[in-house]
C-alpha cells in the first residue's frame, strides 16, 4: 500500500515537469469576496465585470503583499500603507500612488474608511472620535500610511471623563484605532478604549446590536444593514488609496491605464509581454 502511495506521490511530482513556460505568465492576486477592498476594486476598476477565475485570493493586505513580493509574474492591489521596497507600485493613468496624489484627487483608486455609532455618540465614544479627527489622530493616520483628512486642530482633553467603550470591526481600520486608543488611554491614564478586530461586518453588527460602542468598516453600509440598523451614524476616519503592485524585478510595466488593469484582472492578458506600454 505504501509503495502505491509513493508511486502516486512520484506521479504528482512528475506532472509538473511536463510544461515549463518561457514567457512570464501573469499571476493575478486579489482579495477575498467579502473584502471591502475587493468590492471597491470591482466597482471602480472592473466596472462590475467579473474577475478571472484563476485569481489567487488572499484575506489581507499583508498576504497579498507577501505573495507579490515573492512571485515574479504577480500583480496585486493593497492599501497605500503596505507599500515598501519589496514590491513595485505601478502608476495608474500616469499618476503615482502617493498620499499627496490621493488628497489632490489625481490618483483614481481611493475610498473612505469609516466608523459607526448607534445614534449620535456621547461620552467616551464622542471624545475618542474627536481625538481621531484631531491633529494627533490624523498624525497617526499618516504614520500608518493611510490618507489623512483635514484635521480639526489639536485635541483638548476634557476633565472628569469616565467609563469605557469597546471598538470592534474591520482589520483594515484596526491599526489606526489601536494606535489611537493607545495614545488616548495614555492621555486619560486609564483603559477607556478597547479595540477588537473581527471584520467590517462584525463591526457593523456589534455596534448595531450594542455589544460594541463604535464599529469600524472599510466599506459603506449595505442596504440590508441600513434596513436592520437604521440609527447608525457614519464617521469618516480617513481615506485609503489602493496601490497596484508587481514584483520589483518586473521590467514589463511601470504604468497601466485603468482599462489595462481591468483587462488583466478579467484574464484577457495571460503573459506580461502582451501588454503594450
Amino acid at each position: 500500500m505504501s509503495i502505491l502511495m509513493l508511486i502516486t506521490l512520484g506521479l504528482m511530482v512528475l506532472t509538473g515537469c511536463v510544461s515549463t513556460e518561457d514567457k512570464l505568465s501573469i499571476v493575478v492576486v486579489g482579495r477575498d469576496s467579502a473584502s471591502g477592498t475587493r468590492e471597491f476594486f470591482w466597482e471602480h476598476v472592473m466596472k462590475k465585470e467579473n474577475f478571472t477565475s484563476n485569481i489567487l485570493e488572499k484575506n489581507s493586505n499583508g498576504a497579498v503583499h507577501q505573495t507579490v513580493s515573492m512571485t515574479k509574474g504577480a500583480i496585486g492591489y493593497i492599501g497605500l500603507g503596505y507599500l515598501d521596497k519589496k514590491v513595485k507600485a505601478l502608476k495608474i493613468n500616469g499618476v503615482e500612488p502617493t498620499v499627496d496624489n490621493v488628497i489632490s484627487g489625481a490618483y483614481p483608486i481611493s475610498r473612505n474608511l469609516n466608523m459607526f455609532t448607534n445614534g449620535e455618540p456621547t461620552g467616551v465614544a464622542l471624545e475618542f472620535l474627536k481625538y481621531i479627527d484631531s491633529d494627533e489622530g490624523q498624525k497617526i493616520v499618516r504614520e500608518e500610511g493611510f490618507v489623512p483628512k483635514t484635521s480639526t486642530g489639536p485635541y483638548i482633553k476634557v476633565e472628569g471623563l469616565s467609563g469605557s467603550i469597546n471598538v470592534a470591526g474591520s482589520t483594515t481600520v484596526l491599526p489606526i484605532a489601536s494606535k489611537a486608543a493607545e495614545a488616548f488611554n495614555q492621555l486619560y491614564e486609564g483603559n477607556l478604549v478597547t479595540v477588537t478586530g473581527g471584520g467590517s461586518s462584525v463591526g457593523v453588527q456589534s455596534v448595531g446590536e450594542g455589544s460594541a460602542d463604535i464599529g469600524m468598516a472599510s466599506r459603506e453600509l449595505k442596504s440590508s444593514e441600513i434596513e436592520r440598523y437604521p440609527n447608525l451614524v457614519k464617521h469618516v476616519v480617513c481615506s485609503d488609496g489602493i496601490a497596484v503592485i508587481v514584483h520589483p524585478d518586473n521590467k514589463y510595466v511601470d504604468d497601466l491605464t485603468l482599462d489595462q488593469l481591468k483587462e488583466i484582472y478579467k484574464g484577457t492578458y495571460t503573459k506580461w509581454d502582451e501588454i503594450k506600454q
Binding site: 506532472t15 513556460e21 475587493r38 484563476n54 489567487l56 499583508g62 515574479k72 479595540v195 436592520r228
Partner: protein, 645 residues
C-alpha cells in the same frame, strides 16, 4: 449489638449505592454531552444558513463561487478542492506516519524512542499560523523554483503542509495502537521462526489495524479541518484544477473560504447564509468520511473474529481467481493510460520496467533482504519526518531569535506590536487554554470512563462514539462559526474570554475522550476483576485501579489537546480575540492571544519591523507549547516508570 452493626452496614451499603448512582449519572451526562454539542452545532449552523440564496442542489452542483459579483453560490469547486487537498495530504502523511509509528514502537531502542516520540509530538504543537507562514515563504518558493511554475501557491503546497500537520496525530495514535498489541502475539510469531519484519507485517500491524484506522481518521479530521495554513498556501482560486491532476493549480477548500470571507461578510446577507451553508456542508462531509471509516473499521474487526467459522464462498474458487486476474489487469491498464497521459512516453516506460523488476525480484529476494529493505524504508520515514521538523524549527528560531528579549516577554505590545512585547497575548493564550482544558478534561475523561467502565456495547454507546468521532473530524473553523453564532450572538456574550474558552473546549473534548478511552481499554480486564473480587465498588475500582495506570494515556491526550488549543486561530478568531494590549478583568471581556497576535502582525501591520516581531512571536508561541509539552512528557515518563503491573 449485632443488629446495630447490621443496620450500620445496611446504611453504608445504601449510601455507597447512592454515591455510586450519582457518580454514574455524572459520567453519563459527560458522555451525552458530545451528542448534545454535535446536534446543537448542526442546528445553529443550519439556522444561520437559512434561507440559502439558492436551492440546495444548485448550491452543491454549481461550479462557480462568486458570492458578491455574479451572485453565484456554487460549493462544487470548494468541495472538490477540499477532497483533493486532503487526498494529497494523506498520500504524504499515511506512509510517513505509519513508518514512524512502526519505527518508534518496534525498531527503535528505548533511548532513541524517548527522544523521537516527543519530537514528533512537538510537530503537533507548531501552530497552524506558523505552518502557514513557513509554507508561504519557504515551501511555495521551493515549489516555484524546482518545478519552474509561475506560482508555488497550489494544491501541492497545501497537501504537503497538511500532510506534515497530520503526521503527529496519525503517528501518536497509531503507535499507541501498535504498542497495545499483546506481547504474546509477537512472541508466538517469533517463536514460530518468523523474523521481525514478518512479525510486524503479518502479526503486529493486522492486530493493530483498527487502531491504525482510527489514527488515519483522526489525521483526515486534522487535514480537512485545517484553515489558516491552507488559506495561506493554496492560492484560494475557486476553480477545479485543469487537468484534474494538475497539482500546481491553485485550489480553494471549504475551510479557507470560511476563513477568509466570514469576518467581513454583512450579517444576514445572502453571502452570509451561503457561508453558513458551507459550514453545514463541511459538517455533513466530515460525517460521511467518519461514517465510512467507522464502517470499514467494523468490517475489519468482524473479519478478525470470523476466522473460527468457515466463510462460505458463493463464487467458485477458480472463477474468483479469474475475476481477480481481470480486475488486476484492468486496474493496471488504467494506471498505464493515466500515467501516459500525465507524464508522457519515456517516463511511463521507465516506471513500468521498474515496477516489473520489483515484482519479479520480490520472490527471489530472501526474507532477510526483505526485512532489511523494509527496515531501511521505515528508518527513511523517520528521517524524513525529523528533517521536516528540523527545517521548520530552524527557520523559526533563526528568524525569531533576534527579537527575543526579556522585555519582549514581559512588556505589553506598543505601536501595534512593533515595539514592546507580547506579555498580554501570552497571558491571554494561557487563560484561553487553561479555561478550555478545565472544561474539556473532566468531560472527555468522564465520557470515556462511562463508556468503558459502566456500559456494554449498545446502541447508545455506538451513538456516543460516533458523535465523538464526528466532533473530532469537525473542522476548527466550524467550531469558530458555531461559537460566533451561539455564544457571541445568540447568548449575547459578545467577543469574550468565556466564549473562546468554551469553543476551544468543545474542540478538544473528542481528542481527550479518544485517547482516554484507548488508555482505559488497554488495561487488562483481569485487574478490574481482581478489584471487584476483593469487594471494591465500581467507583473504587475506577479510582484506585483503573485510572492510575491510564493516567499516562490521558496525559498524552491532554498534551495533544493543549498543543492544539494554544496554536489554533480559527476557533477564537470569531469568538474571543482583540488586538488590544489589555488583560481582561472578567471572562466577558475579549483577550489577545499569541496566534492571533502573530496573524494580525504578519498580515495587517505593515513594515520590516513587524515581520521580525512576527517571527519573534512565533518563537514565543512555540517555546510556550514546547514548555507545556516538556512538563507533560516528564509527568508521563514518571508515571510510566512507577506504574507497572
Amino acid at each position: 449489638m449485632s443488629s446495630s452493626t447490621t443496620k450500620q452496614g445496611l446504611f453504608n451499603f445504601l449510601g455507597v449505592r447512592f454515591k455510586e448512582g450519582i457518580i454514574k449519572t455524572v459520567f453519563f451526562i459527560a458522555a451525552i454531552l458530545g451528542i448534545v454539542i454535535i446536534f446543537s452545532m448542526l442546528f445553529f449552523l443550519l439556522k444561520e444558513a437559512y434561507p440559502l440564496p439558492v436551492d440546495i442542489w444548485r448550491f452543491i452542483s454549481d461550479s462557480v463561487w462568486s458570492p458578491t459579483e455574479s451572485l453565484r453560490f456554487g460549493a462544487y469547486p470548494l468541495i472538490i478542492g477540499t477532497l483533493l487537498v486532503t487526498l494529497g495530504a494523506m498520500v504524504i502523511a499515511i506512509p510517513l506516519s505509519i513508518g514512524s509509528a512502526v519505527f518508534i514502537s518496534e525498531i527503535a531502542s528505548n533511548r532513541v524512542r524517548s527522544i523521537i516520540k516527543p519530537v514528533i509530538e512537538l510537530l503537533a504543537g507548531i501552530p497552524s499560523v506558523v505552518y502557514g507562514f513557513f509554507g508561504l515563504i519557504i515551501l511555495t518558493t521551493w515549489i516555484k523554483d524546482i518545478f519552474g511554475v509561475s506560482t508555488g501557491e497550489s494544491w501541492l503546497a497545501g497537501s504537503i503542509i497538511l500532510g506534515v500537520m497530520a503526521i503527529p496525530t496519525i503517528t501518536t495514535v497509531a503507535e499507541d495502537a501498535i504498542k497495545a498489541v499483546p506481547r504474546e502475539y509477537k512472541e508466538g510469531s517469533l517463536a514460530l521462526g518468523a523474523n521481525r519484519w514478518q512479525t510486524i507485517s503479518k502479526v503486529v500491524l493486522p492486530s493493530a489495524l483498527s487502531g491504525i484506522t482510527a489514527a488515519i481518521i483522526l489525521g483526515i479530521g486534522r487535514a480537512v479541518g485545517e484553515t489558516m495554513a491552507v488559506l495561506m498556501v493554496c492560492g484560494n482560486a475557486p476553480i477545479i484544477p485543469n487537468p484534474p491532476w494538475n497539482v500546481f493549480s491553485p485550489i480553494r477548500t471549504l475551510t479557507s473560504t470560511l476563513g477568509i470571507e466570514t469576518a467581513e461578510v454583512p450579517l444576514g446577507s445572502a453571502h452570509y447564509h451561503a457561508l453558513f451553508g458551507l459550514a453545514a456542508l463541511l459538517l455533513v462531509i466530515t460525517l460521511l468520511i467518519n461514517l465510512t471509516a467507522v464502517y470499514i473499521l467494523r468490517r475489519l474487526q468482524k473479519k478478525h473474529h470470523a476466522d473460527q467459522y468457515k466463510k462460505r464462498n458463493i463464487i467458485p474458487v477458480d472463477i474468483q481467481f479469474k475475476l481477480k486476474k481481470i480486475t488486476t489487469s484492468f486496474i493496471l491498464t488504467l494506471t498505464l493510460i493515466l500515467l501516459y497521459l500525465i507524464t508522457g512516453f519515456v517516463v511511463t516506460i521507465t516506471l513500468s520496467i521498474l515496477a516489473l523488476l520489483i515484482f519479479y525480484l520480490r520472490k527471489k529476494i530472501s526474507t532477510k533482504k526483505i526485512e532489511m529493505i523494509a527496515f531501511s524504508t521505515i528508518t527513511m520515514c523517520i528521517l524524513i519526518v525529523t528533517m521536516i521538523i528540523g527545517v521548520i524549527l530552524a527557520y523559526i528560531i533563526i528568524n525569531g531569535a533576534g527579537s527575543l528579549t526579556w522585555e519582549f516577554l514581559t512588556q505589553p505590545s506598543k505601536n501595534l506590536g512593533r515595539e514592546g512585547g507580547v506579555s498580554t497575548a501570552l497571558l491571554g493564550t494561557l487563560y484561553l487554554v487553561a479555561g478550555a482544558i478545565a472544561i474539556a478534561l473532566p468531560v472527555g475523561v468522564g465520557a470515556a470512563v462511562y463508556l468503558t467502565e459502566y456500559t456494554r456495547e449498545n446502541t447508545l454507546t455506538k451513538i456516543i462514539r460516533t458523535a465523538a468521532d464526528l466532533l473530532n473530524g469537525t473542522p476548527s473553523i466550524v467550531f469558530g462559526l458555531f461559537g460566533f453564532a451561539f455564544f457571541v450572538l445568540y447568548l449575547g456574550f459578545g467577543f469574550s474570554l468565556i466564549a473562546g474558552q468554551i469553543t476551544l473546549a468543545f474542540m478538544i473534548i473528542p481528542t481527550i475522550f479518544r485517547t482516554t478511552e484507548e488508555a482505559l481499554q488497554s488495561i487488562p480486564p483481569g485487574i478490574r476483576e481482581g478489584s471487584y473480587a476483593l469487594g471494591a465498588t465500581r467507583w473504587q475500582t475506577i479510582k484506585r485501579v483503573v485510572l492510575p495506570p491510564a493516567t499516562p494515556g490521558i496525559i498524552t491526550g491532554a498534551i495533544l489537546s493543549i498543543g492544539r488549543a494554544a496554536g489554533e486561530t480559527a476557533p477564537i478568531m470569531f469568538t474571543a480575540v482583540t488586538f488590544s494590549a489589555f488583560l481582561p478583568s472578567s471572562v466577558f471581556e475579549p483577550v489577545n492571544a499569541l496566534p492571533y497576535h502573530l496573524y494580525i502582525i504578519a498580515t495587517n501591520v505593515p513594515g520590516e519591523r513587524a515581520q521580525a516581531v512576527g517571527s519573534g512571536t512565533a518563537l514565543v508561541l512555540l517555546m510556550l507549547v514546547i514548555g507545556l509539552y516538556l512538563v507533560a512528557i516528564m509527568i508521563r515518563n514518571h508515571y510510566q516508570k512507577t506504574m507497572r503491573w
